[in-house]
């Protein structure tokens, strides 16, 4: 008997080829185990028998791609996740960033924006926000809309508040949001210097010179070759002495870009670029 799991992998290969050729989204180098789980769920949600039944929808369906991209790429986060990382940014990195007249920050794969708000709060409290420009990018348009709206479920508030204080927040966290109908709405002025953009790490290019890039818990969804591409993109985007923050279980070991960086925080996974930007 043919192994159903092997057949399913063939279906996924074909679906991803169709998505790429028809719509230009390239998920072929995403970590397969997680992608498989997501496509299985999408198949159930769309009431299809096989994952391959999604292929005609991808080819001919109207408006299917938004839900497909959403189903494949939506991620969840919390504010000030891993508070010790934000503590280090506050105490070690911000003083350095203050030496620049203008600070470009890229939050790559910002999902629903929790980290963007966390950083806006942090920069505001450290009195550097006025010269900061945050570029928050994601492949998922639905997530970006949510990030822009800045409205979150109240359930997360306790975690977010705890994280904020552990990250050495200086003010009172509840000054940064309003609560209404069990929803939390983030203060609008936090978004003053934020621009949200669609950007696909798998295919898109450098769009500005950055002083710091946050890309936390995004590389874990990518295969090693795609991780390599993205790290090269970050290397090309960062100014000399710029910083890169990855997720706490991600690393630049074995990557060709490793030699461009020195480790600032081993546990925090914060790196500083020591080589000049290519072409700069």
């Amino acid at each position: 008997m043919e192994d159903k799991t092997d057949i399913e992998q063939i279906e996924i290969d074909l679906l991803l080829d169709a998505v790429e050729r028809r719509h230009g989204y390239d998920f072929r180098e995403y970590s397969r185990a997680s992608l498989t789980r997501r496509l299985r769920r999408l198949r159930v949600d769309m009431k299809k028998e096989h994952i391959s039944d999604l292929i005609p929808l991808v080819l001919y369906g109207q408006g299917v791609m938004e839900s497909l991209v959403d189903g494949i790429s939506v991620t969840v986060s919390e504010m000030f996740r891993d508070p010790y990382v934000f503590k280090m940014v506050r105490e070690k990195i911000v003083p350095y960033l203050k030496t620049y007249p203008k600070v470009n920050i890229w939050v790559a794969g910002c999902a629903t924006g929790e980290e963007v708000y966390s950083l806006a709060i942090l920069f505001k409290e450290e009195e550097i926000y006025d010269r900061v420009q945050i570029y928050a990018t994601d492949i998922n348009e639905k997530s970006l809309k949510k990030a822009k709206a800045g409205i979150y479920s109240e359930d997360q508030t306790k975690t977010n508040t705890n994280n904020y204080y552990k990250s050495m927040g200086r003010e009172s966290f509840n000054d940064y949001y309003f609560t209404k109908f069990h929803k939390v709405m983030m203060a609008r002025d936090l978004m003053k210097n934020v621009v949200f953009l669609t950007h696909n790490l798998a295919v898109d290019r450098v769009f500005n010179e950055m002083q710091m890039i946050f890309c936390r818990n995004v590389l874990i969804y990518f295969s090693i070759p795609l991780q390599e591409r993205v790290l090269k993109l970050f290397d090309d985007s960062l100014c000399k002495n710029g910083f890169l923050a990855l997720g706490t279980k991600e690393h630049i070991r074995f990557s060709k870009t490793e030699k461009s960086f020195r480790t600032v925080g081993k546990k925090e996974k914060i790196f500083q670029k020591i080589m000049p930007r290519a072409g700069a």
């Binding site: 185990a33 969840v76 874990i220 991780q227 997720g247």
Partner: protein
Amino acid sequence: MSLSAPGRFRLVVIGGSAGSTIGLPLILAGLPHDLRLPVVVVRHIAPESTWEFFMRRTDADCALTIIEPDDKEPIFGGHVYMAPPNYHLLIERDYTFSLSVDEKVRYSRPSIDVLFETAADAYGESVIGVIMTGANDDGAAGLKKIKERGGYAIVQDPKTAQVDIMPKAAIAACDVDRILPLERIAEALLELERL
């Protein structure tokens, strides 16, 4: 140590929750340093916890190397891999780990179901799944998947579990191969390794 080592089984996955702080070290202490089978563990723990305390306590009695795997790390025998807090731990078909921050499954991240299902996908009939004490039904669907793919299922005897909800749910979900008291689980794994 090699992935192509002979034997019917090539991977052990263990899931536990409430009560496993005491039970898990007991299983690990019963395994020799040259265990051919890699052991991968999901325990439900708070996001801010670290394994350091647990590992320091367990390391003394455990002959195997206990680590929290990084993303895309290859899987080797002689190791016990602990899912990091606040991440799902998944197994890829090329026998490496990957991590995700997807939504919680059964209110849990890491989730036992996620590990077991991806282990079943990657290793098929060569997986041994073990469900221990715990206070919810995470792991039951994953163990069922392991059985569907021809793997082997061991559940801690609910009578010897501190909290019996998890082992009972696993037993109800599929036709398990062995129901064992805690202190016999390591011995059973060694027997299976020789097959």
